[in-house]
Amino acid sequence: MSAMANPFPQAPATWRLPDRGKVAMAGLIIAESAIFTIFVVAYLFYVGKSLTGPTPREVLETPIFYTICLLSSSLTIHFAAKSLARERVGAFLGLWVLTIVLGGTFMYGTGQEWHRLIYEHGLTISTNLFGTTYYSLVGLHAFHVTAGLVMLSIVAIFAVVGRVQGEQSRRVEVLSMYWHFVDAVWVVVFTVVYVLGR
């Protein structure tokens, strides 16, 4: 190396920096929020501007039950992460799987709704502006839930084979940040699509 092998001899003070996993996830969440904002704006902009039917009022039903599922999964994942931090691996695994089940139920609900819209009401993404914006916005969210479920399941598999221990709790927390975000976005999507948009 160079002549200045140790050029800075001061004694280290206490030096703590934020966790890079969390910072990166926060960055991703900011970027994702911007993406969702644009889709939400497009949705609101086109509310009531479709040239042909069907309209949201005619065909949408408020998915209260599935919404409760998704929102409560935020609680379960929160406690799952807490349990892991306290090294309670069994409780972690139980809550984690419950989260996956709740998320899966929500996805089932979305699937049901789409099936109904397509086969009963003939509403597809190309039918009218409502179809275009509705499937895009809800679909974008559903994609994020699905991606989340895949990651949660991978962790679950690792946990089942006993590879998830207390040391991994920071990573699990990063994942749970993502899941909270997906839930929070649903609150916005729900308000926009099922409350304001009708």
């Binding site: 910072v23 479709s50 993404i125």
Partner: protein, 552 residues
């Protein structure tokens, strides 16, 4: 990279077969190598898009010229603008951020080296996709083989009805893919700066370059994401029959404009802020003084970042917004001039009372200051919505933004290349060639872009492949084109300098400019692990403390 790689390349006896070397570069996750890859890739595209610009200029030399057909001309300016912004500007600045940020904050690498490599290859993919359109795009009879809707791709020109074939799809996909790369890089830069600083490197001790790149990365997150969203919508329209921007089914052309410029305006600051960062590092060193008003510089940058999120519709003053909206965007636009002015004044304050050394990097910086001042002031003219209703869509705008992008960004990048080349390669770029490059580029730049304001004032719209004689545009256009060629000669000299100095240049040593930031504390080029022992810092200018123990 083994430790013998510290020795200067070229002198080093490389026994590895070239395939291995290539393999090492392609699979590298080292921030310095990725930085170099970014820079080389961007320089390649500078030449490609530069040649496109030259063809544009040949076509516009004379009224009713027939050098290229209108179809080709439209593809040329679309490809030129897209390439320069997305595949020259962004990558070269990301390259510098990659190379310098870890070194300057005393880290061994970026926070996520593999994400870093992934992001680079995504960006590279984007560029290749864009140019692959030349062979892959014409899907239907009569469809073009390169994107031709302009770099803003206004709806409904991108709708299937007006853009059959696949050229627009390649454009969208290229930007989508490279957009993911940019978001990845931005996240990486933020995480690196916040989480990887060496002990003692508090936020208020970070070099301004790190600060400014932090702001830039934040803006990328907030700006590129809307573009990504809009590109998704365009793809939905083109492939799934959606109607977001389909004016025939009630869709809105205005919506795309807003979405594009919500990205597009912050984007131009994404390009200029890293160049501000270069200024903030280089000017102090060659003035032999610390940066003037460090906290104010940080505050002004953050302020630019915020305000510039609310000015986008100044690109839409002619689309028919009401007078209140136009007034609102006038005031926000002009407001950006205040923090930007503060930056210019602080660089002035840095030079004031210093001992300025006119090394090549500093020459580019000084030219930057004068040119950015001019560019900013023409920006203020455009910002006045009523004045802009005459200037917009004319060559005056083209002059304004080349003044910022060439006079600002390209000059800033040249300054940075001359300044950090010794660190990257271990050799100093030849000064004589450097001065020649500087003067020729300066003259070419001014000939081209000073004059370009005039046809704008005389009513010449942009994006026209030819024009009518007798409107006062003829001579000016000829001179503008000549300037373009002078710039090209200068760029050739620069390229020669890069190559010649790599093999024959003067050895740099660790610290050729007698500078103060951490990257100069390690060898040139730095070893793979950057620092043998992680440094500890106690001030903003760690090497100054070393060199001037009496100041402690």
């Amino acid at each position: 990279m083994s430790s013998n790689a510290i020795t200067i390349p070229g002198v080093q006896i490389d026994e590895k077969p070239w395939v291995d070397t290539l393999h090492e570069w392609v699979t590298t996750v080292d921030h310095k190598r990725l930085g170099v890859l970014y820079i080389l890739y961007a320089l390649l595209f500078l030449v490609v898009a530069g040649v496109e610009a030259l063809i544009i200029r040949i076509q516009l030399m004379f009224p009713h010229n027939h050098f290229v057909s209108p179809q080709v001309f439209n593809r040329l300016f679309t490809m030129h603008g897209t390439t320069m912004v997305f595949f020259m500007g962004m990558p070269i600045l990301f390259g510098f951020a990659n190379y310098l940020v870890p070194l300057m904050i005393g880290a061994r690498d970026m926070a996520f080296p593999r994400l870093n490599a992934f992001s680079f290859w995504l960006s590279a993919m984007g560029g290749f996709l864009l140019y692959f359109s030349l062979v892959g795009a014409n899907g239907l009879y009569g469809a073009g083989n390169a994107p031709d809707a302009g770099w803003w791709a206004y709806a409904p020109l991108t709708a299937r009805a007006f853009s059959p074939g696949h050229s627009t799809d390649y454009w969208t996909l290229a930007l989508l893919v490279s957009g993911f790369g940019s978001i990845g890089t931005a996240i990486n830069i933020i995480a690196t700066i916040l989480c990887m600083r060496c002990p003692g490197m508090k936020l208020n001790r970070m070099p301004l370059l790190a600060w400014l790149n932090l702001v830039m990365a934040g803006m990328v997150l907030l700006a590129v994401s809307p573009l990504t969203a809009a590109q998704f919508m365009l793809l939905i329209d083109r492939y799934l029959g959606g109607h977001f921007f389909d004016t025939q089914a009630g869709g809105s052309a205005m919506l795309w404009m807003h979405f594009f410029w919500i990205f597009g305006h912050p984007e131009v600051y994404v390009l200029i802020i890293p160049c501000f960062a270069f200024m903030s590092e280089i000017i102090p060193v060659f003035s032999r003084k610390p940066i003037f008003g460090y906290p104010v510089m940080v505050a002004a940058t953050v302020c630019i970042g915020f305000v510039s999120m609310s000015v986008w519709a100044h690109h839409m003053f002619s689309v028919g917004m009401n007078s209140y909206a136009n007034s609102f965007f006038t005031i926000t636009t002009m407001a950006v001039g205040v923090p930007t002015g503060i930056k210019i004044f602080n660089w002035l304050g840095t030079m004031w009372g210093g001992k300025i050394q006119f090394k090549v990097p500093m020459l580019f910086c000084i030219a930057f200051l004068f040119q950015f001042l001019t560019a900013g002031l023409t920006g203020i003219m455009l910002g006045s919505a009523a004045f802009d209703s005459q200037l917009t869509l004319s060559y005056f705008v083209v002059a304004h933004f080349h003044y910022t992008l060439v006079g600002g960004v390209v000059f800033g990048v040249f300054a940075a290349l001359y300044y950090w080349y010794p660190k990257i390669t271990g050799r100093i770029l030849n000064e004589t060639l450097g001065k020649l490059h500087f003067w020729l580029f300066l003259i070419g730049f001014h000939l081209t872009f000073d004059l370009m304001h005039i046809p704008g004032l005389l009513g010449m719209p942009r994006r026209i492949y030819t024009y009518e004689p007798g409107r006062g545009w003829d001579t000016v256009n000829l001179l503008i084109s000549v300037g373009g060629f002078i710039q090209a000669i200068a760029v050739v000299i620069f390229a020669a300098n890069l190559v010649v100095s790599y093999f024959k240049g003067k050895k740099a040593g660790n610290d050729p400019w007698d500078a103060w930031t951490l990257e100069w504390a390690t060898s040139s080029p730095p070893p793979a692990y950057n620092f043998a022992s992680i440094p500890l810092v106690a001030s903003r200018r760690p090497l100054w403390d070393l060199k001037h123990p009496e100041d402690q």
